[in-house]
Amino acid sequence: MGVGQKLGDLGVVTVRLEDAVNWARTNAMWPMLFGLACCAIEMMSTQASNYDMSRFGMELNRPSPRQSDLMIVAGRVARKMAPVLRQLYDQMPDPKWVLSMGDCASCSGVFNNYALVQGVDEIVPVDVYVAGCPPRPEQLIHGIITLHERVKQERFDYWYEKERA
């Protein structure tokens, strides 16, 4: 390896466009702050010093939906909150993903009653479900890596189908 390469002169690298795009998408996937309840505290732990989500290019938690790619629904979604959640999801630019964190967001967990949406998948499409009440930070990171692997396998024809639908 010569000095030129170390300085960044790598010459020409050929790679499929899909791989390059997916690589870019997974390595800077900005999550939207959507902390609702107990899981939000664990999500904060995941971002704090011990677990450090910036290892995955996710240290920037965007409060605005317009700047974010991934919505981590952390916590229970009340019926009063459901329209807000859907509106925020609609405001996110494509491509966008949803991670349902914890039992409450996935199926409302121990709170099987009138006040909560019984699973956030009733209002927005969910890509990855993370179980646990609340999930440990490791579990959340596992869910995010699962999502990354899924995104890395996306193909052009899949994007076209999504566009048409």
Binding site: C38, K80, N113
Partner: protein, 347 residues
């Protein structure tokens, strides 16, 4: 999409707030701004309609219920033991405190005794939870004002507490450790050394936080004289805890009505004077130190003996008894199928 013009919609929503905002808002002199329910500094989901005169907030109409979970309704249809897990999730930063309040109510109703070791373990749990909760408050509050680094420091210490919770209960946050009649299990042998190590380090960490904030002019500018609550207001609005003490009254329920062996500990009640955000911050930071003091005494004086009541009408028998005693099996079966039935009454 609706065909209502935007202006009309806005007028209508202003009219619905007519009794709540001042006359100046209706004429357009002040501005009514919506904040939340999805906002980076609303930890917990809250919507505020804020009336602004320039940069000064003159009026604020809170709208809550975005996290209404229907816990009361769910608890009605559960057994006493089963409803305990709901109390963890009410205030998810103060899980053991909620367990404790719920268990104290049951124990008062059923006249159930708690062994002294159980009471001490409860105090340890409750005070660790207080530190845990205050650390999250301090980190996020500082982050909202702009001191991001404190958030990382606070969560570093918090992880150590969560590790200890995991040691004694198996869960990081929803511990359900405090049960009617005592605590779930005795502490593990490595718990006390870990706690001692933490108590040894933690006072220095509090000093670190204080060097970052207490005399920091930016921090003082943004907290002193802000959010003033007078003593009369605090009493009339039913404030408790640090909010009340920050307004200058030394009232602490641990001193006024001691429960769970709190009368055997020696600690001070910090009080503020001005009733602003800065004083409440000082009260809470001082509470961290007092919690360390209580924990040191609890570790020092922790008595031996049973950790949970022996009243088999309310407390399930331990595993070791089940193989030997028929009676224990019956109690076990009854408690886990029917639950216990305390006498009728109101506490």
């Amino acid at each position: 999409m609706t065909t209502v013009p935007e202006q009309y919609e806005w007028e209508e929503s202003l009219q619905s707030l007519k009794n709540l905002v001042s006359e100046r808002a209706l004429t357009g002199e002040t501005m009514v701004l919506n904040m939340g329910p999805q906002h980076p500094s609303t930890h917990g989901v809250l919507r505020l309609a804020i009336e602004l005169d320039g940069e000064t907030v003159v009026n604020c109409i809170p709208d809550i219920g975005y996290l209404h979970t229907g816990i009361e309704k769910n608890m009605e249809s559960k057994k006493y033991e089963g409803a305990l897990v709901m109390t963890d999730r009410m205030d998810y930063l103060n899980n053991m405190g909620n367990n404790l309040a719920y268990c104290l109510a049951i124990e008062k109703l059923a006249e159930l005794d708690v062994p002294i070791r159980g009471q001490y373990l409860r105090v340890i749990g409750a005070e660790l939870t207080r530190i845990n909760s205050h650390l999250v408050w301090l980190g996020t509050h500082a982050m909202d004002i702009g001191a991001m680094s404190l958030f990382l420091y606070c969560f570093r210490e918090r992880e150590r507490i969560l590790d200890m919770f995991e040691m004694i209960s198996g869960q990081r946050m929803m511990t359900s450790y405090i049960r009617p009649g005592g605590v779930w299990r005795d502490i593990t042998p490595d718990f006390l050394p870990t706690l001692r190590g933490f108590l040894n380090d933690f006072p220095r960490r509090i000093d670190e936080y204080e060097t970052l904030l207490t005399n920091n002019p930016l921090w003082r500018d943004r907290t002193q004289g802000i959010g003033y609550v007078s003593l009369d207001d605090a009493l009339a609005m039913g404030c408790t805890g640090p909010t009340l003490r920050g307004s200058g009254i030394a009232w602490d329920i641990r001193k006024a009505m001691p429960y769970s062996a709190y009368d055997q500990f020696d600690f001070d009640v910090p009080v503020g004077q001005n009733g602003d955000v800065y004083d409440r911050y000082m009260v809470r930071v001082e509470e961290l130190r007092q919690s360390v003091r209580i924990l040191n005494q609890a570790v020092e004086k922790l008595p031996d003996g049973p950790f949970r009541s022996n009243n088999r009408k309310y407390v399930p028998p331990p595993r070791s008894e089940l193989g030997r005693s028929m009676e224990a099996v019956i109690h076990h079966f009854k408690l886990w199928t029917e639950g216990f039935r305390p006498p009728k009454g109101e506490v």
